[in-house]
Symmetry: C2
Subunit: 349 residues, 2 copies
DNA sequence: GTTAGCACTCTACTTTGATGAGTGCTAACA
DNA sequence: TGTTAGCACTCATCAAAGTAGAGTGCTAAC
C-alpha cells in the first residue's frame, strides 16, 4: 500500500492533534477541522489503511486512533515543520544565561533549568567531558602527612580534584616544585598524552616515589573516565507528573528510580555526544526503561569540539518541533557563552 | 485533665500502630492487642479524653484516631524507645562508605544515598561549609587574555573555583608569583580574615591592579556566602511516592518543586547545622511548604567543628526512632571518614 | 471506673444503567 | 472507483444506588 499525499496529510493532522490534546483522535473530530473537505467516513477508511500500515494504533475498539512510534519517526523525519522561537523567548533564554557566571557548573545547572522550563519536560545535561581537553596546570596540595590533593586544570577551564594517599616523606616544597615541573612538561597535552609523558619524563622521580606517581597517573586516568553519575545534571523532574503515562504511581516511581541512578542517562548522553542532534522515539531507545519515552539530544562544543551534550526526556507524545527548536537555541547560546569565557583566545596561540 | 500513665500507654500504642500501618487506629484494634486487658469501650473513653487534650484527631466521625503533631512531639520527647541498628546494618553503612574515595563530593553523595535507602525517606545533605575553614592555598590560573581562574583550597580539603574577568596585562608568571605570595600570607587564616589581610598586605599591588584585586576579594566573599542551591544534595526523591499524603498528584508536584528549588532546604539545613540534632514536626516547621512534613537533622564535623548537616524529610507519620538511629550511625561513620582523610594530623600542628 | 449493647455515621466498594464518542460494514451515489 | 450516508455495535466514563464494615457516642448495668 502506498503512503500517498492525502494519507500523509491526515496522518500529520492526527499527530498534531494528539500531541496537542493527548486524547485519541476520532474520524469526526478530524473531518470537522479547517481544511478538511472529506467526510468522517472517508477518513475512517484512510485511518484503517494507516493502521494496517503500522502508523496508527487503537487503544480499544471504540476509541480514536493514536500515532505509533513509526508514525512519530515519519513525522520527525518528513512531516513536521520546525517552528522558530519567538524573539521574546530567545531573549528570555539568553537573559537567564546572562547573569554573573563564576563557575562552569553554574552554566550546566542553568542549562538544565532553562530547558526544562521552556519545554515542560525533564531535561538532562552532560557536563563537559575531559577526554579531548588539554592540560593547563597540575597543582599538588599537601593536606596532611599522607594525603595529597591533586588539582587538574584544563585549558577549557575545567577543574577536577582527586585525593591521593601517599607514603609520608613528601614535603610541601617538593610538591610545589613537582607541580611546576608537571605543569611545564604537561601543558598543552591531552590527559592521555600526559599519562605517557609522565612515564617518560619523570623516570628519575618515579624511582624514588613510585607509589606516589602510580596514584598520580591513576588520578589522571580516573579523570578521563568519568564516574558516570557525577557529570549528569537533571532538571524539572517534577514534570514527570505532566505525563498521563505516569499517572500510575508505581510506573512513575520506577522511572524516577532510573533517572536517579543516572547510569543510563550518562550512557545515553555520552553516546549522543557523538552526534550533532539525535531523536530516539519509544522502542528505538536501546534501554528497556526508556522504551515508553522519547529522548531528544543535542551537543555543545568549544573550539568546534563536542565536549558535552544535553537533551530532553519525555513521553513519545511530545512536541518534537518545539523541543528541537528550544534545544537548538539553547545550544547556540551555550556555545557562545562557553567560547566567550574560555580558551577561545587562549595565550597558547 | 491529667495525662496519666494509662493514657500515655494507650497514646504510645496508637502512635506505634499508626506509624506502622498508616491507617487510623480504632478502639477495637487496640483492645485486641497483646498486653491490653481493657475493653474497646474503655479505650474509646480514653481516646475521647486524648482528643480533647489535643493529642488525637479524627479524619471523620466513623474513622479511628490519628496522632496530632502534639502527640508526635510527646512521642519523640518522652515515649519512643530508640532502637539500635543491628550490627549487620552498621556494617552495611560502613561498607558503602568504605569504597575508594577520590573526592569529598563523593562522600556527600554517598551519604545522601545511604540515608535514603536506610530510611525509605527523602534525604538531604548540606555539603561542608567554608565559613569556619582556614585557607591552605590560593592558586590563580590564567585561562585566556581576560579570564583568570581562582582556586581556593582550604585546610579541610575543600576546593572552590571562581572565574574572574580581568583587564589584560596580567601575565602568567606574575599570577604564579602572586599565587605563592597569597598562599604564604593567607595560609591558616579564615576566609573572612583573608579578605582583610589582602587589603592590608597587598596595598602596593592593589594600586596597580585594582580591578583584579576587587574581583579576587569578591570571589573570596562569594565563597563564604554559598549559593544556596549548589551545596545541597538530595537523595531518594522517588520515595515521595511512598507517602499516601502525596498520592494527590498536584500536591506531590508542588512538593517536588520545593525540593528542586533547594532554597528552603538550604535555609533549613543551615539553621540545623547549629544544633547537634533536631526534629521538627509538621506545623513546627518554619516554612509553609513543610508543614505537612517532619524534618530530622543531624550534623557532622571535622576537628569538633560542625561543618555541615544532613537529614531526612518525610511525612509526620515517620518512624522517628529508626530515623534517629540511622542518622546517628551515619553521623558517626561520616565523622570518622572525614577526620581520617583531612587535616586531622595536618602539618600545621 | 469498667463494660456490654445498640443506634448511628461515614467511607469504600460494587452494581447498574445511561450516555456518547467512535468504529466497521453495507449500500447507494457521482 | 472513490466517496458518502446510515446503522448496528462496542466500549469507556460517569453518576446513582445499594451494601458491607469499621468505628463512634451514649446509656444503662455491673
Amino acid at each position: 500500500m502506498e503512503l500517498d499525499e492525502r494519507k500523509q496529510k491526515i496522518l500529520k493532522a492526527i499527530i498534531d492533534d494528539y500531541i496537542l490534546t493527548g486524547i485519541p483522535v476520532g474520524s469526526r473530530t478530524l473531518s470537522k477541522k479547517e481544511g478538511f473537505d472529506i467526510s468522517s467516513a472517508t477518513i475512517r477508511n484512510v485511518m484503517a489503511d494507516l493502521e494496517e500500515m503500522g502508523y496508527l494504533e487503537q487503544p480499544h475498539t471504540s476509541a480514536g486512533r493514536i500515532p505509533s512510534d513509526l508514525a512519530y519517526r515519519l513525522y520527525v523525519d518528513k512531516l513536521m515543520r520546525l517552528s522558530t522561537l519567538s524573539p521574546k523567548e530567545v531573549v528570555a533564554i539568553n537573559d537567564i544565561f546572562d547573569t554573573k557566571i563564576l563557575e562552569i557548573n553554574d552554566v550546566i545547572e542553568k542549562t538544565a533549568d532553562i530547558i526544562s522550563k521552556a519545554t515542560n519536560h525533564i531535561s538532562v545535561v552532560l557536563a563537559p567531558q575531559m577526554k579531548q581537553s588539554t592540560l593547563k596546570r597540575i597543582q599538588l596540595v599537601k593536606l596532611n602527612d599522607t594525603k595529597v590533593l591533586v588539582l587538574i586544570i584544563t585549558s577549557t577551564g575545567l577543574v577536577k580534584e582527586k585525593l591521593i594517599t601517599v607514603a609520608s616523606g613528601l614535603d610541601a616544597s617538593y610538591l610545589d616544585m613537582l607541580s611546576n615541573m608537571l605543569t611545564e612538561k604537561l601543558a598543552e597535552k591531552t590527559l592521555d598524552e600526559a599519562e605517557q609523558a609522565i612515564e617518560q619524563d619523570f623516570k628519575a622521580e618515579m624511582l624514588t616515589h613510585e607509589r606516589f606517581f602510580k596514584s598520580l597517573i591513576y588520578s589522571l586516568h580516573d579523570t578521563v573516565e568519568p564516574q558516570s553519575g557525577k557529570d549528569i545534571v537533571l532538571g524539572g523532574a517534577k514534570n514527570i507528573f505532566n505525563y498521563p503515562e505516569y499517572r500510575d504511581v508505581d510506573k512513575a516511581k520506577g522511572f524516577l528510580e532510573v533517572l536517579e541512578t543516572k547510569e543510563l542517562l550518562f550512557q545515553m548522553l555520552d553516546q549522543a555526544s557523538k552526534l550533532e542532534f539525535s531523536i530516539s522515539i519509544g522502542h528505538e531507545n536501546p534501554y528497556d526503561e526508556m522504551k515508553q519515552c522519547s529522548v531528544v539530544t543535542a551537543t555543545y562544543s568549544i573550539d568546534g569540539k563536542n565536549i558535552g551534550s544535553f537533551g530532553v526526556i519525555g513521553p513519545t507524545r511530545m512536541n518534537y518541533a518545539r523541543v528541537v527548536s528550544v534545544l537548538d537555541q539553547v545550544g547556540k547560546s551555550l556555545n557562545t557563552i562557553l567560547s566567550g569565557f574560555i580558551d577561545e583566545k587562549s595565550d597558547k596561540d
